[in-house]
């Protein structure tokens, strides 16, 4: 398994606006934390300059204070992996779409839009994907609540 310690220093020097570290649980994983406005630029730089040509997935985590976007990419040559994190405010959950960097982001972002209500700016086809068009709400948000039947069962 690739150790990304050296890569972390290189990326930190290149992306001065980002917070770069090594994952505490995984030596092969680099964590890049960026602001919302620098997200697209950071991802493009990671692909073009550091060879992260393969996007594994994009998803979202609903924390009490914010929504966190997680984009996970792999460098197929060195086997290094990178996790790009962005914090979004719950009042304005909007972020740039990664479709122009990695086309595969298309459906992942549609899923995050569907289940979390995150709006991806510049996405070519942002509609619901798993739930039907007329569904209301975004079920993976913590405030959506859970199935009352399941609660009764507990």
């Amino acid at each position: 398994m690739a150790d990304v310690r050296e890569l972390v220093d290189k990326v930190a020097a290149d992306l001065s606006f980002a917070e770069v570290s090594q994952s505490p649980v995984d030596v092969g994983e680099m964590v890049v934390k960026v602001d919302r406005e620098k997200y697209l630029a950071a991802c493009r730089r990671l692909r073009d300059e550091f060879g992260f040509d393969y996007l594994s997935f994009v998803t979202c985590v609903d924390y009490p204070e914010s929504l966190e976007i997680v984009a996970y990419a792999i460098n197929l040559e060195t086997q290094a992996r990178v996790k790009v994190l962005v914090d979004l405010s719950k009042e304005e959950p909007e972020v740039d779409s990664l479709v122009e960097v990695w086309p595969t982001a298309n459906w992942h972002e549609r899923e995050a839009y569907d289940l979390f209500g995150v709006v991806f700016r510049g996405h070519p086809d942002l509609r619901r994907i798993l739930l039907h068009e007329k569904f209301e709400g975004h079920p993976l948000r913590k405030d959506y609540g859970s199935n009352p039947l399941l609660k009764a069962y507990e």
Binding site: E29, Y54, S56, V61, V70, W102, T104, L130
Partner: protein
């Protein structure tokens, strides 16, 4: 004559949109494909999914860490053991759990047998998609023996709940080795038969060669993985690139295609079965003695944080991203399903081809809708 030519020029041309599915026999589950046709040529595909959506990720947030394991079985229900493996590896990574060597070997054996079972099912249904019904019966004959072995070991035929945090639920039964080796021998003969029956068949070649081509650049850009990626000539296999468990101790090859057409994807899967058989043989030979479950706390409470673990499932990179808030339930579980990603590719590979080959294209990316929709 003049009248005829002018009539030809004025021939009414129009694109037609048709719905295929959701209850179409060849969609491997419940998939609706909105296909735009010009005559018989496919001009665009928009897969509509979600018919089997069961809020798997939301359910996980309401169960304890161990209660999630049986739910993972229900995503990709023809390769349940690899699903459990992805989830368990992610949680173990987060907790830093040690797994006894014997348990790791057993996991490898089970994961590889599962790959064979899954590929056999693909082989059968793919033949069916192309109009050859007999291969289906042949493949299921072999698969049945394997399912019996799984049943004897885990107690279930499809949804096993066998791989646990820190190890596996129980040791292998006494005659596991003999039965598995007997099965592998049977499989070898079976694979030869399949070749004569289907893969080497001229009709099969006509229907698969040069169709559904996916270039290496497209495959990487669209996030393809597993045999679908390797058929395009990219030798990326998580068992080699990030050897989890004890895969680095075994000698096996990663079959790679060249053209990235349907035929190459088929050949990759057929060869993978042989390689998996090789791994199982080596693992059975080197199977160490010892415990099958490590030291695991009674109440599972992983420390706060995030972890991502991916395994090479029969269909590709199956990943599980877990987030813990330090409690007894997962804060978030994200399922990175290879089929979900591959279904996006349908538009890329089927565009410009005949509608008759559309079914072959769906079959060649080997989707399981239970995993797409979760």
């Amino acid at each position: 004559m003049r009248e005829l030519t002018s009539a030809k020029q004025e021939l009414h041309r129009e694109e037609m949109v048709i719905n295929m599915g959701p209850q179409h026999p060849s969609t491997h589950g419940v998939l609706r494909a909105v296909v735009t046709l010009e005559g018989e040529t496919v001009r665009g595909v928009d897969p509509v999914i979600g018919y089997l959506h069961r809020c798997f990720e939301k359910i996980c947030e309401q169960k304890t860490w161990t209660q999630v394991i049986p739910y993972t079985d229900r995503t990709d229900y023809v390769a349940a053991l690899t699903n459990e493996l992805a989830y368990v590896l992610a949680v173990e990574k987060l907790m830093g759990l040690e797994v006894p060597e014997r348990a790791q070997y057993i996991r490898v054996i089970m994961a590889e047998l599962q790959r064979i079972a899954s590929h056999l099912l693909w082989f059968g249904t793919f033949g069916n998609d192309l109009g050859a019904f007999t291969p289906f019966l042949y493949a299921f004959r072999e698969r049945e023996t394997l399912i019996d072995i799984f049943e004897k070991t885990t107690g279930a035929r499809l949804t096993y709940n066998y791989i646990r945090l820190g190890g596996v639920r129980n040791d292998l039964p006494a005659d596991f080795e003999r039965e598995t080796l007997a099965f592998l021998e049977k499989l070898e003969k079976g694979l030869e038969e399949y070749h004569n029956l289907l893969i080497g068949n001229a009709i099969f070649e006509y229907r698969t060669k040069g169709l559904g081509v996916l270039t290496a650049e497209q495959a990487v850009a669209w996030g393809a993985s597993g045999p679908t990626l390797r058929a395009s000539g990219v030798a990326w296999d998580l068992r080699k690139s990030e050897p989890y468990l004890v895969y680095d101790r075994f000698d096996f090859e990663v079959p790679v295609g060249q053209k990235g057409d349907i035929y190459d994807r088929c050949i990759c899967r057929m060869k993978e079965m042989e390689e998996s058989a090789k791994i199982v043989r080596q693992a059975l030979e080197g199977l160490p003695e010892g415990d099958v479950v490590g030291k695991v706390p009674r109440v599972i409470k992983p420390p706060q944080g995030q972890a991502y673990a991916a395994v090479e499932a029969p269909r590709g990179e199956l990943g599980c991203f877990v987030v813990s808030d330090g409690g007894i339930k997962p804060y978030r579980v994200k399922w990175r399903s290879p089929c979900f990603v591959h279904l996006q590719l349908l538009d890329v590979i089927a565009r410009g081809e005949l509608v008759a080959d559309f079914i072959a294209n769906i079959g060649s990316i080997d989707i399981i809708l239970g995993e797409v929709d979760r």
